[in-house]
Symmetry: C2
Subunit: 233 residues, 2 copies
DNA sequence: GCAAAGTGTGAGCACTGCTCTCGTTGTGGA
DNA sequence: TCCACAACGAGAGCAGTGCTCACACTTTGC
């Protein structure tokens, strides 16, 4: 009975098996995609009976949800870490975008889990919203750096914000604790959708007939959008 | 034995049943999503035995592929028709973008089929590429209209195209038979990825914490991107 | 008129998610 | 130290799936 020092044997075993299941699930995910993920196959591979899995995950969808959350955190870590490596806002922006794409290329099925179509009757709305929000936060942070240096100068004025949009965006700014003007936040969200639109198109094969391989196009867009949001060269 | 005038009774029956199957499939698709599409359930609903379906579609994936192609054509029709309703390039651009979003909102599961994660070990690459290319073609066409009037003036210069990208984009221009400069085509592709990135984010629930409901944001982005590609007001 | 092709039937295989019961085993309190 | 209890794994079983096959029956084209 370890009072504070650690977990009981059973708890350790549980934690270990839980992550073993998830690891095996990730393997199957990479091989057969989200649709081909089978609890029975995982159990078989782990040398246990299928019903035992249900001691750890109440249902297949719960396993999927756990994988989604893990994937979000993993992607968030990758992007955050890439951002931290640079101080100059534009370099930071570049690094974040590139890191997102590279993570996606290395974890195709997990990316599809997060940004593809919601697989079941989509199970996981709330638990995944916080970890999924990390990437746009990092992008906003790059903008904030430039803004504080007085160097955030959008490439062109652009249309004025409607009242509803302005209110929404100001709520976002408040929630994320940023002091960027509504206009800049809006541009950042636009760039965010562009970034993941581009990555999704590349991964899901929508660009095959046109700009494929897509790295040159991707790099160009990252620069274009950096100009668009107003990051100094 | 109708020599030229029409199809034989069997052929008519076949065509009819084929589309009945697809219709029932679309119903199930809208209700349970792509993962929940069941051949047996379709057969049951149509009052036939499940194995009979295989006379019409060799496999579940083939049915899915047929649905994807139908969805692409449907979306393409909607966007093209919306485009045709306007002569002024910017209005045309607006109409196309809005039509794409509205179609997506009205056909969520079918949209997910086309632009979501490739469901199986993705089955359908070649047959779907032509119909899927129609939307970007319509967008390019709006640009072409402005270009011919000498009114296509991008909002800012933007980064220069790398050699590889330039070559790729010129190949796209040639393949689509447009005389737009490489720079304009690149901007159009960027806008295309932004458009569908935004729609996907809205449909797949990525915008819930931020700009939701998304119409104001969508409209703003459409205008922003119209400025970006250089469409005159 | 008749062989051939097309079509619906029903049984069956291998697989899935999930539930339930039944022994076993580790846990924490008395 | 013992013991009740919770957690756990095993195995059978249910309902559902995609898909195949041999079998009848009907339409087609020569």
């Amino acid at each position: 009975m370890p009072p504070s020092r650690s977990l009981t044997a059973r708890e350790r075993a549980r934690a270990e098996l839980t992550s073993e299941i998830k690891a095996q699930a990730r393997i199957q995910l990479a091989e057969h995609g989200a649709g081909g993920l089978s609890l029975r196959a995982i159990a078989r591979e782990l040398g246990m009976v299928s019903s035992a899995i249900y001691r750890y995950f109440p249902s297949r969808d719960d396993l999927l949800t756990a994988l989604i959350i893990d994937a979000c955190t993993d992607l968030g870590d990758a992007v955050e870490q890439a951002g931290k490596a640079h101080r100059k806002p534009r370099l930071r922006w570049r690094a974040c975008c590139t890191a997102a794409r590279e993570w996606a290329l290395e974890h195709r099925q997990e990316y599809a889990l997060i940004y593809g179509s919601p697989v079941p009757g989509y199970a996981a709305p709330q638990d995944t919203v916080a970890p999924a929000a990390r990437v746009p936060l990092v992008l906003l942070d790059a903008l904030r750096g430039a803004h504080h240096d007085g160097q955030l100068t959008p490439a062109f004025a652009g249309p004025a914000l409607s009242l509803t949009l302005k209110a929404q965006v100001e709520a976002v700014a408040e929630a994320t604790g940023t002091d960027l003007p509504a206009d800049a936040v809006t541009r950042a969200i636009l760039a965010w959708t562009q970034l993941f639109g581009m990555i999704s198109f590349e991964l899901f094969g929508q660009l095959v007939g046109s700009v494929d391989p897509s790295k040159p196009f991707f790099d160009h867009c990252v620069e274009s959008m950096a100009d668009f949001v107003g990051l100094p060269a």
